[in-house]
Assembly symmetry: C2
Homo-oligomer: 338 residues x 2
Amino acid sequence: MGHDLVVAVAGATGAVGREMLKILEERSFPAAEVRALASSRSAGQKLPYGGGEITVRELADDSFEDVDLALFSAGGATSKEYAPKAVQSNCVVVDNSSAWRMDPEVPLVVPEVNAQDLKGHKGIIANPNCSTIQMVLVLKPIHDEATIRRVVVSTYQAVSGSGQKAVQELESQVRALFNMQEPECSVYPYQIAFNCLPHIDAFGQNDYTGEEMKMINETVKIMGDDQIRVTATTVRVPVFYGHSESVNVETVRKLKAQEARAILSQFPGVRVLDNPGETIYPLAIHAAGQDETFVGRIREDESIENGLNMWIVADNIRKGAALNTVQIAETLLEMKLL
Amino acid sequence: MGHDLVVAVAGATGAVGREMLKILEERSFPAAEVRALASSRSAGQKLPYGGGEITVRELADDSFEDVDLALFSAGGATSKEYAPKAVQSNCVVVDNSSAWRMDPEVPLVVPEVNAQDLKGHKGIIANPNCSTIQMVLVLKPIHDEATIRRVVVSTYQAVSGSGQKAVQELESQVRALFNMQEPECSVYPYQIAFNCLPHIDAFGQNDYTGEEMKMINETVKIMGDDQIRVTATTVRVPVFYGHSESVNVETVRKLKAQEARAILSQFPGVRVLDNPGETIYPLAIHAAGQDETFVGRIREDESIENGLNMWIVADNIRKGAALNTVQIAETLLEMKLL
């Protein structure tokens, strides 16, 4: 296939969809044609691509008839409905929603971590949750070296993870507060400006949020080891772009901080930024717009025999969503699975 | 003593010093006279107190000659120099700096947790670090019931913890960014607006920050049990008032979430706000200006046999500093130790 590929982006007008188009172009993805699909509301809109523009088409039952690869970022309900239709038309789907992630028939992939899970795919491949992707990239080389037993993670997640409306909500709340007006809340239940919300996605029966359960369940599936135990507290913070995470790991074998730095600096997609003496550590404002996942503040946890604390930061829209989706597609091509 | 007390506030013009004066007044602290002390730069300034004003005096060697109780919030160096001089004048010092906290001769007290440690004090009593105070208030009743073995904490700390200049820095950075100008950094090494800084206080030899080591060491001292192991990652977030904390505890005996809620709701100074179905959990914007420490998101940690996750929020200037200092003084009076 290669340069004959017809590629569609479903949900092309959203924050992640636009970033997918940008990344396909940036990385010169070998497509003969790129199509933009969205709801009827957005159909007819023009989006920049390849120096020109492409016109958004309405997502419909026949949208995938001559499409080879579809990148979906249109929400869970749309993925549930249209991904099987695309597969019936012999189109391979890489889906950014949570709809298919825990389906045992669907590979859940971060290419640097578990590309081999793509083998034998049945047409749908799931892109993991943003906060999970950046964490497993760091966990993987540590697990390979020292075997991770337990992870305790607390997140500091940017509003862009909730979409463009949340970015606007943070901005308008800040402006309102600085003008002595009452901030309006519509995306979030409470003010996000100058506040932290320990609530991402809906609460489940065990009082964990959907986001927390994603980090717990997806980590085990991607790492391919159900001996790894994870607990998570996920928190929205007043940051526009870039998720940060405080990650504590317990390993079977002892890993010194210096060894962890050495191992991590060899791993693809990971960059170690860790020199406290020089005030060097990862920051959301520096990670925004970058492809890599940054890790720093690596230090031995003296409260247990074999433990490490780390601070992991990545651009939630790029590696956390659009970039990883495109990288899955590139890996499918390399592995001749598309 | 009681109503004959002469009380001095050293560092009265700072954010915490002003709050101390406000709280002494609010709680009708039984003082015959309240004096405000500060550096020569601030001497002569007027501060509101008791419906009138008090004039700031310069902090000097003889400032404590006829003073019974001094509340210090003037930085570690000032405390190191003047607290012993005050004690020589038979003045009892409650110090909010970190100068004396780990001195084995100095009680480190959160009254609801370890008031008994005040007995036999030698003139100086230390007020713990803000992020430690709100955590130990929640840990204490859990420890009494189920014996805590390990704590993993990640913090979300407000800029007011760095003083009034940091509050102004966050505000001016936000204004600059919204006006397409470069934000200026002076209190913090990097932009705090719309960013998270995993760096509070100076880095030590083990790559932990001073703030992290305070949480580790002070928790053990206040709880009076060196079997409790703590690891901490402390993070500054773009919030003006109110520290939030994601706290994971491992206990010897199993404690169900519902049992923890019941125990915590009985503990003085703690308020349980925990009803996810009704979107009820603690928030920094709600805790600001309040005396209580709020806890919610209480849930069993399924990654270990006996674990709990919690979200703890308090006003870092009140319970985290000024209020706890005044409460120590009140407890000294009640226990006839002043």
